[in-house]
């Protein structure tokens, strides 16, 4: 592995600023790594020429003294974000030839900040999945053990950051799709508050839950990235006008006296001894930093998975009705009539998990079932949100595991959708409540990464990053890297 790849995003910025290396050298080192680790299948599209062009522009601007601090830093985007002139597949046969006519707002902001885009990252089809096995372009492999999944749906983002193919990747999280893969790959993932980051040009899965965010190798790197993508966008009607704080400056606020809640439902009998031990070490670190740990209750948390697996598929069935074989996407050959065109184009274009969720969602919204499923789930959703708001009157942050266990073997859960859905047990509740959540490395269990999760009140991303940053000043978990890079 070249030395440049191993550097954090902050160190890469410093190196460019001092002239220790050029943006062209930096981007080339990452493109070489992408090439070398092709077998991880983290990328769907590599945009090498584009990346080197923007790097050359960054180098020229730096000579003139006009470069922004991030000019020429590599980034890669989950292939759910539209990129003008570059394929946007969503991991689906349906969109295998789709070239977006415009850039997503997140992509535009990253470009404006000077980032060099290396390419588009693999994912579960339309962001539906917890293992990245549901991609029409094949599964992504976990850099820590290539027989295992990297998690999903942002599996390509997590694997690429873990394997040092990019210091920063965009990702999206509807029920845990940033945090779970971050935990499985020993990386840091932040799902911001609902409405914090524009969703314009981010292909919709479940619109009342979807939120864009980032995966990186430290809390500080996340803070720098979040500053670029957070903030109001008039093109997204759910975008918040809440002021964006200075995330990087907030990292150094002291943790002394912070109250961190431990929800009893997260630490119940289902937790494995190994996971409990890993969380115990995190708790001790937080106490040593001056935080106060208290027990809190989230009484409706056990109903989060059932509510989520009604709401998300219901909204997905509606959002994905746009794929009709007429305006864009896969179209069947020789349609007999309009219904045949729709039915067979969708039957051929969508993979099995997407079909499963469309069917469940359509069923839940169909005549006679709406009250028992969708309305009931939305009522439970309010109870869950109220639980969190109540807990946050007693504490500043919540701590829990990110996942029930470490990365599982490719194929292990593929025939059991319910077992796969239960992977999201610790992550979906924050999406239902619209809260920010982050997953950060807590060491290894039997050689595989394990993550801890911090959850905060709405728009308190800075507090999550601050605490994780302090932990990362006194531990080395986030610096562990897979062998064989």
């Amino acid at each position: 592995m070249s030395d440049l790849n191993a550097l954090s995003l902050v160190a890469q910025m410093d190196g460019l600023a001092t002239g220790a290396f050029s943006a062209t050298e930096l981007v080339q080192a990452h493109l070489d790594a992408v090439d070398r680790h092709d077998a991880l299948n983290a990328f769907i599209t590599v945009t090498a020429d584009l990346a080197l062009d923007t790097a050359a522009q960054a180098d020229a601007a730096r000579v003139r003294g006009e470069a922004s601090p991030l000019a020429g830093i590599p980034i890669a985007h989950k292939d759910l974000f539209c990129t003008e002139g570059v394929l946007t597949t969503c991991g689906s046969r349906m969109l295998e030839n789709f070239v977006a006519p415009y850039d997503a707002e997140v992509v535009r902001r990253c470009q404006a900040a000077g980032f060099s885009m290396l390419g588009k990252l693999n994912l579960d089809e339309f962001a539906m999945g917890s293992s990245n096995e549901n991609s029409a372009f094949g599964p992504v492999r976990n850099p820590w053990d290539r027989s295992r999944v990297p998690g999903g749906s942002s599996g390509g983002s997590a694997a690429a950051v873990a394997a040092r193919l990019t210091p920063l990747a965009t990702a999206t999280d509807t029920g845990g799709s940033i945090r779970q893969p971050a935990a499985f790959t020993g990386t840091c993932g932040l799902k911001p508050t609902y409405g914090r980051v524009s969703r314009w040009g981010m292909v919709a899965y479940a619109s009342s839950l979807d939120q864009g965010g980032l995966i990186a190798r430290s809390a500080e790197d996340l803070a720098i990235g979040l500053a670029v993508i957070a903030g109001h966008d008039a093109k997204d009607s759910t975008s918040s006008r809440e002021v964006v704080p200075n995330y990087r400056a907030a990292l150094n606020s002291p943790c002394q006296g912070l109250r961190i809640g431990l929800p009893s439902a997260f630490f119940d009998a289902r937790m494995s001894d190994a996971m409990r031990q890993a969380l115990e070490t995190v708790k001790q670190t937080l106490t040593a930093l001056g935080a106060e740990l208290i027990e809190v209750e989230l009484p409706h948390l056990t109903h989060a998975i059932p509510a989520y697996y009604v709401i998300a598929p219901a909204e997905a069935s509606s959002n994905l009705s746009r794929f009709d074989g007429v305006r864009f996407g896969h179209r069947v050959a020789d349609p007999q009539d309009l219904t045949d065109l729709y039915t067979r184009s969708r039957g051929e274009g969508f993979g099995s998990e997407v079909k499963r969720r469309i069917l469940i969602g359509t069923y839940a919204l169909s005549e006679g079932y709406y009250d028992a499923y969708y309305k009931k789930a939305q009522q439970i959703r309010r109870l869950i949100k109220q639980d969190f708001l109540q807990a946050f009157t007693q504490c500043d942050l919540l701590l829990g595991p990110t996942t029930p266990g470490t990365a599982f073997a490719i194929g292990a859960k593929q025939d059991d959708p319910v077992a796969m859905y239960l992977e999201d047990i610790y992550t979906v509740a924050t999406n239902l409540a619209g809260l920010p959540g982050g997953s950060f490395p807590a060491g290894l269990l039997d050689g595989l990464p394990v993550g801890y999760q911090l959850m905060a009140p709405h728009f308190a991303e800075a507090r999550i990053l601050q605490v994780a940053h302090h932990v990362q000043q006194v531990t080395a978990w986030h610096q562990l890297q897979p062998e064989g890079l």
């Binding site: 030839n97 789709f98 070239v99 006519p101 609902y194 409405g195 009342s208 839950l209 008039a234 009607s237 759910t238 918040s240 409706h300 109903h303 059932p306 509510a307 697996y309 009604v310 009705s321 074989g325 007429v326 305006r327 864009f328 996407g329 179209r331 007999q336 009539d337 309009l338 219904t339 065109l341 729709y342 039915t343 969708r346 039957g347 099995s352 079909k355 499963r356 469309i358 069917l359 469940i360 359509t362 839940a364 169909s366 028992a372 499923y373 009931k376 789930a377 939305q378 009522q379 439970i380 309010r382 109870l383 949100k385 959708p417 319910v418 859905y421 999406n431 239902l432 619209g434 809260l435």
Partner: protein
């Protein structure tokens, strides 16, 4: 909740305009039944009088002035059409 039948799968697939092979429909019956068992646990939760939550921030739809802001991007947008002629989307004959 009543248990799911293969007729239900057929009905829902038709509503969703989703083509399923025979094997897929069979598999869907098993999978959907398992998922419905999972979500049926909701029935035991007391929710009377609870206002459904549709936006996590309880935000309401924003309005903007009704002005044209989009540029004419017909050529760009048509580039992704799988079947077209004379700048129009092609569909099978609808009216005989």
């Amino acid at each position: 909740m009543p248990s799911l039948s293969s007729d239900d799968v057929t009905r829902v697939a038709r509503l969703a305009r989703l083509g399923l092979s025979e094997a897929e429909a069979e598999r869907a019956l098993t999978d959907l039944s398992a998922i419905l068992t999972l979500v049926d646990a909701m029935a035991g939760v007391e929710t009377s009088g609870v206002e459904p939550l549709s936006n996590p921030l309880d935000a309401t739809q924003v309005l903007r002035p009704d002005e044209v802001t989009e540029v004419d991007a017909r050529t760009t947008l048509m580039a992704n059409a799988p079947a077209q002629a004379d700048g129009l989307f092609l569909v099978p004959r609808v009216v005989e």
